[in-house]
């Protein structure tokens, strides 16, 4: 990446003549390998990411259904006013899931790959095939140069360079010896490593999205079980949920005692905390949130239990109100609700509506500990129960992300902390000419001066500039 010699090098290379005919592939290649286009794409990606950081992003529950999204939108409407619907239409509340943001990321990746491929031959050449024989103008025009106006044996120059841990190539032409010396030439490959890692980051992310999953709001009431979907054949039971608070009023600990059940048998047990998830068969259960929800029991005419679990409420219906709905086959829907953050009498009863095929069949209030009949259904409100909110996820791409991070760091360290130095010398009977390039983090000019000083015979002063000869 920050190899600052490349621009100087490129300037000395002749430009390739443009293709005579219009070739769409060639044009596309040139578009994506252009530095200006890269800068524009990076800038636009930055701006979009920034927009996502500034605008409130719709949380997972809001994106679950159009209704929940609409009710979420009403909540942020006071903040964004008349522009709310416009912002929503251009996905400003879901920037990172939007087509335009993902498209931008895809463009950035294509650009990274193509730019790297484009620079690969040049990097390769400069690492492995540098010319030792350089002409007069090269020595005259180098930014960092020095000359010794007296004869110095070529072997002395080579020895001095080797002492500085340079790798030296020697070419003899007549009575002139040309030397090319290189130090940390491999560090330049760090650039390839960093760009490769960016591609790996993307692949890891895509792999995770394609082959992993993340259910962000899995709710399990105390004593209830959650049956894994997605082809997994086990259940997770919440045995107990505990919350602890500091005297200062800050949360101290949230923990869920979980059991994994397979075929009715308990196969694993763990108390999970925010910083200590449970992983079973590659699936991770992370403590995410918690709450209290009403527990309902619904029986049919024969006394068979159709439902017995908590029904977590979410905002909806009307302001400061929370509802939840329970669908019972074939076509019955039970809707329960109560004011948000209820206390006293409000917490002790639920507003109940029973729909049958879209028609309201019954409605009224259901008191705690009581049950009501609707048709042949028997609905009981057992009281409030604590529940735990888990993120259940599996990300097979995460490993790739950590490998990519390691490669990125390795690449950065090699190109930053092992700055490459390149030095050319022309050793002739009338004297020695030196020229060097290095990354800006090295004071190569000073190094060159001190090298010239050590090589100079007694009484001869090296010159900064070469006299025209």
């Amino acid at each position: 990446m920050p190899d600052e010699t490349s621009t100087q090098e490129r300037a000395s290379r002749p430009e390739v003549a443009p293709a005579p005919q219009f070739d769409p592939l060639e044009a596309l290649w040139r578009f994506f390998t252009s530095t200006k286009v890269a800068v524009v794409i990076i800038f636009l990606t930055l701006v979009s990411a920034f927009i996502g950081a500034i605008f409130i992003q719709a949380p997972g529950w809001a994106q679950a259904s159009p209704q929940s999204y609409a009710s979420w939108l009403e909540r942020v409407r006071p903040r964004y006013g008349g522009l709310t619907d416009f912002f929503s239409a251009i996905r400003l509340f879901d920037v990172y899931g939007s087509v335009w943001f993902r498209g931008m990321c895809a463009l950035l990746i294509i650009n990274t790959i193509l730019c790297t491929l484009n620079r690969l031959p040049g990097i390769w050449r400069s690492v492995f095939r540098s010319k030792a024989v350089m002409g007069e103008s090269f020595y005259l025009n180098s930014t960092n140069r020095a000359s010794i106006p007296a004869p110095v044996p070529a072997d002395n120059v080579i020895a001095a360079l080797r002492k500085e841990r340079y790798r030296v190539t020697r070419v003899q032409e007549g009575n002139a010896t040309y030397l090319y010396a290189d130090r940390h030439s491999w560090a330049k490959l760090g650039t390839l490593l960093t760009h490769l890692s960016i591609v790996l980051f993307l692949l890891g992310a895509i792999f995770g999205i394609l082959f992993g999953f993340s259910d962000d709001e899995v709710v399990i009431g105390e004593g209830s079980s959650y049956a894994m979907t997605r082809g997994y054949n086990f259940q997770v039971r919440l045995d107990d949920f505990t919350e602890e608070w500091y005297l200062e009023g800050m949360p101290k600990d949230f923990r869920s005692d979980l059991s994994i059940l397979e075929g009715g048998q308990e196969v694993e047990r763990k108390t999970i905390r925010v910083n200590d998830p449970l992983v079973y068969k590659g699936v991770k259960f992370s403590q995410s949130f918690y709450g209290v929800a009403p527990a309902l029991e619904v029986k049919d005419g024969q006394g068979k239990t159709l439902f017995a679990d908590i029904l977590p409420l979410s905002p909806g219906g009307r302001p400061n109100y929370e509802t939840s709905l329970l669908t019972l086959p074939p076509n019955t829907t039970v809707v329960v609700g109560r004011p948000a953050k209820p206390s006293g009498a409000a917490a002790a009863r639920l507003e109940l509506q029973v729909y049958n095929g879209g028609q309201v069949k019954d409605q009224g209030f259901l008191e705690i500990g009581k049950h009501v009949k609707s048709g042949d259904l028997d609905i009981a409100f057992l009281g409030d129960r604590e529940y735990t909110g888990l993120r259940v996820s599996r990300d097979p791409g995460a490993g790739v992300i950590w490998v990519a991070s390691g490669l990125m760091l390795l690449g950065m360290c090699s190109s930053f902390y092992f700055p490459r130095r390149r030095l050319w010398a022309r050793v002739r009977p009338q004297g020695v000419d030196l020229a060097a390039f290095a990354d800006r983090s090295v004071s190569i000019g000073q190094e060159l001066d001190s090298l010239a000083k050590t090589l100079s015979p007694e009484g001869i002063r090296p010159r900064k500039d070469m006299r025209k000869r």
Binding site: P2, V39, I42, L46, A49, A205, Y246, A398
Partner: protein, 272 residues
Amino acid sequence: MEKMSLYFFTAGLITVALAAVLYLWYAWTRQGDAGRFATIFAWMGVALLTGSVITRTIVAQRGPFANMYEFSLSFGWGILLAYVVIERQYKLRTIGAFVVPVSLLLLVYALTVPSAVQPLVPALQNSLLLTIHVSLAIVAYAMVAVAFGSAVMYLIQEAHQNRVSILPPADFLDAMGYRAVLIAFPFIFVMIVIGALWADIAWGRYWGWDPKETASLVTWLIYAGYLHARAVAGWRGKPTATLLIVGFVATMFTFFGVNLFLSGLHSYAGTG
């Protein structure tokens, strides 16, 4: 012990304020005495703030990394320490006029937020990752502040055609900013990676576009832009110095703005 930490902090704040004034005075009047005293005060400031950080660590039984007061104290201390080391290394005093005030601002900010030692909320109860994550941030932010100071001086020097004799030559400042970024850039990166690793453990995902995550990524990308602008496009001087200032503003936004103005998973680090 908590009181002692506060006494150290207050004494450190006053000392750093004096140092900042003296550095500015020195940059303005070029009086050697002012510069020498500025250096003495800066070192005293480092000593006092180190005392404050250590006593705070003892009383809280963890690094001072858990709320806005502790972050500001740690970052202010880190920036000052980075500065005095660089001043000693390069025998440069004028850069102090631009870096020490940044440290001072952080310390003044720390003064305005509640300083009580608070217990760790569940998400932060991972002392190993917390320590690494925030320590990396301290080094990164210190280097970013040094790069910022160099960039500001560069722009001044450039506007006056290198004739501001009290400042180092423009060329040197350009290289100085670059070297600071060469340290800051990998540190920001590793800080983000450790953060992601931690998020994977604590929140079950390594990346979630949380405002803090996004802002730190954007900051890192700005410095990536700076490095590429130099290496690929051959930019030097004024445009790259401007990028360093943009990067610093982004860093400050990541530090303050995200916690104060935006809600997200990092908001436990807010004013409380």
